[in-house]
């Protein structure tokens, strides 16, 4: 079932359309990547989802019902890119306070904060102040605060920046766990390798519009250029076939591009006939990074200001 359904969402600012008719839907338990270059409108979109901004057009269905800006925001956990905590407030108290703002009772909040602090080995931080924490420690704290009230929708903006690999893995595991427990996660980042690793669904935004939507493997297949890597016992002579062409050579193999209308079997067939020993055969799918660059390249790096028409 869809936890979130976004229909033709639009938000205009004085100088530009920040978000222009964006639609997508998000299922319970899925991890969703929201990608796009700087200034693509991701933050504005997220702010509309969290009820901070009201959309100019379109609507958001949350859990099957129109988004209620009074009661629904507490079912969302949002970790903005720019971390924010009270620097001079004690950490334990602060976590409890923010959880109470999300609608937990003091008792519940205290219990959960304690549980999370134990889990993340943060017990000794309780009476420290945020200003005493390192960037990575602050990050962990912010993550705990975001998910403490067990939100149905979790929005994470660059959650791994500043974290070492150990802590990154810790948080990654928690994200998987939260998704398994039925929360939907929206994950906004520029780090494509993390998206490939974690997300099962992505959309790509550019200049306020959605330009790509699909599962990670589906998107990759969509942008597949029919490239295959083939490992050979020895590479000798010229290789030529109507079925494919060689686009690269390696130590122990070739990179080939299969022409339209032909199948991988044709490639294998060719080498088997030549009695060349095949050690491996694998499709080379484009990385999300390549796709991202391909789609966004050519558009101006910095978004230009333009007056809103219509």
């Amino acid at each position: 079932m869809d936890i979130l359904q976004v229909n033709n969402l639009q938000k205009n600012f004085a100088t530009q359309k920040a978000v222009d008719s964006v639609s997508f839907s998000l299922q319970k338990g899925s991890i969703f990547g929201l990608l796009g270059p700087n200034g693509a409108g991701k933050t504005t979109l997220i702010r509309m989802l969290t009820g901070i901004f009201y959309p100019d057009e379109g609507n958001v269905l949350f859990d099957g019902k129109p988004f209620d800006p009074v009661h629904d925001p507490v079912k969302i956990g949002y970790m903005p890119e720019e971390r924010g905590l009270y620097k001079k407030m004690k950490i334990g108290e602060q976590a409890i306070y923010l959880a109470q703002l999300k609608g937990l009772t003091k008792h519940e909040a205290t219990e959960r904060v304690k549980r999370w602090f134990v889990k993340f080995e943060m017990e000794t931080w309780w009476n420290k102040k945020v200003q005493d924490l390192s960037k990575g420690m602050g990050q962990k704290l912010q993550f705990v605060i975001t998910v403490l009230h067990e939100p149905k929708l979790i929005i994470l903006d660059e959650p791994f920046s500043g974290l070492d690999p150990v802590n990154s893995n810790l948080i990654k595991e928690e994200i998987y766990q939260l998704a398994r427990n039925g929360s939907a996660v929206i994950f906004s980042t520029h780090r494509m390798e993390q998206v490939e690793e974690i997300c099962d669904h992505i959309i790509l935004m550019n200049k306020g519009q959605k330009i790509l939507d699909g599962t990670v493997s589906g998107v990759k297949r969509q942008f597949s250029e029919n490239l295959f890597s083939i490992g050979l016992e020895q590479v000798d002579g010229t290789v030529s076939s109507p079925a494919f062409e060689v686009v690269g050579r390696r130590d122990q193999g070739l990179v080939v591009k299969i022409h339209d209308g032909h199948r991988p079997n044709d490639v294998l067939d060719y080498f088997i006939r030549r009695q060349t020993g095949i050690t491996s055969f694998m499709e080379i799918l484009p990385s999300l990074n390549d796709i991202f660059i391909k789609l966004v390249e050519g558009t101006p790096l910095a978004r230009q200001f333009q007056p809103v028409t219509a």
Partner: protein
């Protein structure tokens, strides 16, 4: 509602637990007391003493113009307008021959200003001298006789009573003036102190970016109101502590008064009730205790305190909402806040100036209007109330003033809420009043 309460609680507790709160609560009154004592000490000890050389054309003043502790007159003939400074005089008075059928101008030449009060003093002494001269010239009264009449004429004393229908209450204008001034000043001070605290708090949340985390669980308006109410409650706590502290000190001081003095004070009270103001047989200490308790007893403390609380909170809400709006609009740079603050601080400062004028004439037109308009009412009205409700301040004025103040802060809170909602998440360029106006009055 419960969320405003949560925010309020946090704002209140983090501030009250802070060491600076304790320091300001206990050190500020101490500093003010020390400052006042110091100022009085300097004023008393530093009262300037002037020696004035007199060149009196026909000796009209020689026997009549009298020196005292503030001005000494020097009639020695070898001092003139050219060398008075070398002879140790601060000024030279040049009096031509006076004629009774016209006003003659006499002149003072000075190197060092006498000051406003000094000039008044000099002119008064001259008038007395002329009167005395005329009395002796035109009547047969002797000098000794006039002096003894003067010294014995101090047989009446003014006491003022506020007419309250059935009963009337003795009032001490000087004391009421003091209370009015202190109340007005306190509200002025607290408005600035806590208004600025609200602004800093909002700026902190904005620059820390915690606003973005919080506004997805709390509506911006709730966050703003929680902050304003929480900080207001801190101010209230501080004020209550001050009142308790001062009241305690006063009672403690009374406890140190010896029993004998109290007996004398009782006698004074009885004498006073009989309409006898002579204090000849009482000791100076008893007189002081009597005057102090009388003065303190003459004020209507219940009314004063409740009005103070109302006007403190009303004025605070009115201005702190505007401070919050400015705090939400600016970025890290405190310089930016300066220029936006000007339109807010100006009315507060003007109110204070109007208050110092209004307190001289608490029933005057300026005082009445300034105490009704919500921009200045919290400060000016508080300076008027000690002079008497419903005497000096008729009930309709008090009611109107309170109503306008409530309407006023409802308006500023509403307006600030609109600006705050947009401003708290805006980063980058410093907004102008025009863009803030747009945030407030265009729907989004």
């Amino acid at each position: 509602m419960s969320k405003i309460w949560l925010v309020t609680k946090r704002e209140y507790l983090t501030r009250v637990r802070n060491k600076t709160f304790l320091l300001t609560t206990f050190l500020l009154p101490l500093m003010i007391v020390l400052f006042v004592i110091g100022a009085i000490f300097i004023a008393v000890s530093g009262k300037s003493h002037n020696r004035i050389a007199v060149s009196d054309a026909n000796g009209y003043f020689k026997d009549y113009l009298r020196s005292d502790s503030t001005i000494a007159f020097d009639f020695s003939p070898d001092i003139d307008t050219l060398n008075y400074a070398e002879k140790g005089c601060t000024a030279a008075l040049i009096i031509p021959v006076l004629r009774e059928d016209q006003k003659t101008i006499y002149r003072l030449k000075y190197k060092k200003q006498l000051g406003f009060a000094g000039e008044e003093d000099l002119a008064g002494k001259m008038r007395t001298a002329i009167t005395d001269h005329m009395i002796f010239e035109k009547t047969s009264l002797t000098r000794g006789r006039l002096d003894s009449i003067r010294s014995k004429s101090d047989i009446a004393e003014l006491r003022t009573y506020e007419d309250r229908g059935k009963e009337s209450k003795e009032s001490k204008q000087g004391f009421l003036y003091l209370i009015g001034y202190v109340s007005g000043f306190l509200i002025y001070l607290l408005t600035f102190l806590y208004g600025a605290a609200v602004m800093r708090g909002v700026m902190e949340e904005k620059t820390n970016r915690i606003a973005e985390v919080i506004v997805c669980s709390v509506r911006p308006f709730e966050l703003m109101m929680g902050k304003i109410v929480g900080i207001g409650a801190v101010g209230l706590t501080q004020f209550v502590l001050w009142v308790v502290l001062l009241g305690g000190l006063f009672l403690a001081a009374l406890g140190f008064v010896p029993h004998d003095t109290w007996l004398e004070v009782q006698k004074l009270q009885q004498a006073n009730a009989m309409g006898n103001a002579s204090t000849a047989q009482a000791s100076a200490a008893a007189e002081m205790v009597f005057n102090t308790t009388n003065a303190v007893g003459s004020a209507n403390w219940g009314l004063l305190l409740s009005c103070f609380l109302f006007y403190f909170f009303g004025g605070y809400l009115f201005y702190s909402a505007l401070f919050a709006a400015v705090g939400s609009a600016v970025n890290e740079d405190p310089q930016e806040a300066q220029s936006l603050l000007l339109p807010i601080t100006m009315p507060v400062i003007f109110s204070f100036i109007i208050m110092t004028i209004a307190i001289q004439d608490p029933g005057g037109k300026l005082a009445v209007w300034a105490s009704i308009i919500p921009f200045s009412s919290s400060i000016v009205m508080m300076a008027r109330i000690p002079f008497g409700v419903p005497g000096t301040v008729p009930l309709w004025q008090l009611g109107l003033s309170m109503m306008f103040l409530i309407l006023g802060f409802l308006f500023t809170v509403w307006l600030a809420g609109k600006i705050y909602r947009t401003g708290i998440l805006m980063y980058g360029k410093k907004p102008t009043w025009k863009t803030m106006w747009k945030w407030a009055f265009t729907k989004s």
